[in-house]
Symmetry: C2
Subunit: 457 residues, 2 copies
């Protein structure tokens, strides 16, 4: 163990191992509130064979490894473990190919999500998953967390766009699964096991992504409501009318006020809830769906529906939604962003319960999220130094998770389990179902090298 660092330095290029205390600080936490742990060191492999050598060394020495991209995770998945090495993969950041004939893109894990989307767009193509942090998140991190985004309703999540993976196993072996075929049933779907496994089963080093033709038109609308229930009813009514827009996002009163103060885009401050609605596709479809959604919103009590005049105004409205987390985070020292998700039919119940829980525990909760997906982000504004308040936060979170599960939902729709949710995971599964997941972890990583203590104890 004591000569681990010299050995790591032999594997990677000079300067690619950080060991000084002050250098390690930024790698001691990710986007999750109230979670940090100093790393023993941070290593930056330059390619997959260096990474494999690092993993082999870790396996031989029993050293825990925590993989990290840009550190934007929201469940503590890339927070270091005690005496563990952080493997930061930002150097593997090349976009290797856009194949317009097969509608695919190949990238290294450290490529920035937005760069992937931009490269696709240059070829007239479209990479739909757009997690909130896409300007800085890495595609490998997206795959490890199976990230969602604002377009999940129509386009699905990261998993739906991964055709192939290169992955380094906990023993340092390099495996490759998938190809450019749109159909392939040869063997088990191993890539699906690694997608969303949060760095606990293998380290994703390269991804082959499926692209779509870029939708030729888009229309953005913003509806205001005097109650959250009316916004939720609008979402249900749109789906029941067989319209599947690309985006149905909402912000509650608390969030609207924070965003407006932060970004000043002219949001209606008197609204109890606003709904950002976006449709894309063929111009005729966009036209028709925009009209239908506007009418449905009005029928369900929208006090105002604003249709963006052009792409630019639409982008500005969408930016309001994207700014929600940052805007809320400015209000109090600690921002706990939750991720409960329920079947769409249960949205109104869940939203009401979140409000009620917030009031009962005297907490400030701003709620926003992907209403069309039933994916809510109740965001608790608190102060981790205030122990008494944090106890109330814990209780409130617990009640929200329990209720989500009771409604047939999940404790996490897109942020992952990591450290933040692992205490709650078992409640969502039967004993057998939970045990089998642990069995898989133990099979692939018997020494517990990769991201130990995440997802499970």
């Amino acid at each position: 163990m004591k000569d681990l660092i010299p050995q790591l330095k032999k594997i990677v290029a000079p300067g690619q191992v950080l060991t000084e205390k002050e250098d390690l600080i930024p790698y001691g936490f990710d986007g999750t509130a109230a979670m940090k742990e100093p790393a023993l060191c941070v290593v930056f492999p330059g390619d997959v064979s260096e990474l494999a050598a690092v993993v082999k060394l870790a396996a031989e020495t029993g050293t825990p490894l925590v993989t990290r991209g840009s550190g934007t995770g929201l469940s503590g998945g890339s927070v270091p473990v005690k005496n563990g090495v952080v493997v930061c993969l930002v150097r593997l950041n090349r976009i290797l190919e856009v194949d317009a004939r097969n509608l695919t893109l190949t990238a290294e894990c450290g490529a920035i999500t937005k760069d992937v989307a931009d490269e696709a767009e240059k070829a007239g193509l479209f990479y739909p998953p757009d997690p909130g942090s896409m300007k800085i998140s890495t595609i490998g991190g997206n795959v490890a967390e199976n990230s969602g985004g604002l377009r999940g309703l129509k386009y699905g999540v990261t998993r739906n766009y991964v055709m192939g993976l290169e992955v380094v196993l906990p023993n340092g072996d390099i495996c490759r699964y998938g190809n450019k075929c749109v159909k392939d049933v040869a063997g088990y779907s191993m890539k699906d096991l690694f997608i969303g496994s949060e760095g606990t089963l293998g380290i994703v080093t390269r991804v082959l992504l499926r692209l779509l033709p870029k939708p030729p038109a888009r229309r953005t609308m913003l509806a205001s409501f005097s109650s959250m229930e009316a916004a939720a009813a609008t979402v249900s009514a749109i789906i029941e009318a067989r319209v599947i827009p690309c985006t149905l996002e909402f912000l509650d009163r608390v969030t609207v006020r924070c965003v407006e103060e932060y970004a000043g885009i002219g949001l209606p401050l008197d609204a109890e809830a606003i709904l950002l609605m976006e449709t894309d596709g063929h111009p005729a479809v966009v036209e028709e769906e925009a009209e239908r959604m506007t009418a449905i919103a009005r029928d369900n009590g929208a006090t105002d529906v604003k249709v963006a005049a052009d792409e630019e105004e639409g982008l500005r409205l969408a930016t309001a939604r994207r700014a929600a987390f940052s805007a809320l985070a400015r209000m109090r020292p600690t921002t706990i962003l939750e991720d409960v998700t329920v079947p769409r039919s249960e949205l109104t119940k869940m939203v009401r319960r979140i409000q009620e829980v917030g009031e009962r525990y005297d907490l400030t909760i701003g709620t926003f999220g992907h209403m069309g997906d039933g994916n809510l982000h109740p965001t608790i504004l608190t102060d981790e130094r205030n122990r008494e308040e944090m106890e109330r936060v814990e209780k409130a979170m617990h009640e929200m998770f329990d209720y989500a599960i009771e409604l047939g939902g999940t404790i996490t729709g897109e942020h992952g389990v990591g450290l933040a949710k692992k205490a709650f995971l078992a409640a969502q599964f039967s004993e057998n179902s939970y045990a089998l997941m642990k069995t898989l972890k133990h099979t692939l990583d018997p020494r517990g090298i990769l991201n130990p203590g995440k997802i499970f104890d």
Copy 2:
């Protein structure tokens, strides 16, 4: 072992264990040519707890189990293993719920695929996967094989529509994964491990399926070509024009002639290839895409493009494609339906090679398939009693598989590995990648109870 049958009879209702030789015959093979093995007995559990009891008994006695639905599989996946029990799940055939608010359908594994699609349609909804055998195949079999179909290009395959599963593990435990949430990242995606695992990791007993709104319009076209290359070029050009139709199916000259003789629908007998093209969605989009596809086909040398006047005529044209396998199967005693798949950009090369291989080995090969998916079904018409010819068949198949892999393709796009392809599977993977799949099998099923000898030895 010798009192296994009495014990099975105690688990299920009277008459639900078949043991007489003549009763066992229909369960000794599936849709795959030249593969049969008599079962020890066939048992028909009436519900999941009876099934779990059967599996527990098998685990205790080390009895191999082969799960079977309607037996339409095309890779020998449900062919019995020596001294094994066939578990036939056709009694678990209820469609339990269509949830129009959440766009889901819940069914038992033995429900017929077409019944699932019909139930969805009654609610104005749409279950897209449509494997060729959907009139008789079971939904559980579709999940076990991750079945494709004629709409894969636009809509994907069975996996893309499975939101949740109930599954009986090789030790008899019952597990449940997934829910009605459109986003869920709590724990590993266990359902994805079971989908396409061909009954080797667990027995799927219940499925929760995602539905879509039913596309309001549809248009079917039939283009004739004087060369297969022209048909393949048309497919490439359509995708490059950023049109993703729901169906791009082709039939070669041999198949066209067989189908016409069989069904008499007025197919052009002088064509070297025909392309069945279908677009669905909003009427304006359908109109526009139909025009563009017609123009592209003409630009790429189509000698004729026939647009179906109405839904009924469209259905008749689609029926021609669906009849391909049955029509070819009438020609010679043995029909070997292959399933090689390549990236779309490599279609022309693959099609040419299949023709060339057929000529070189003096075999009659009718080729049809899902050209838009790169998924080809070269169908060898032969006679399994003719050993010399079968040797040539083996060699031809081997060459086709090798070439598909060389082109970045797969040995099976939608039929599975089963018995038929297991000798070729390793060639598609690196040693590590292949070994990990075997490790998973061994972990979940250490005694090799479930469908032993399928996928791997």
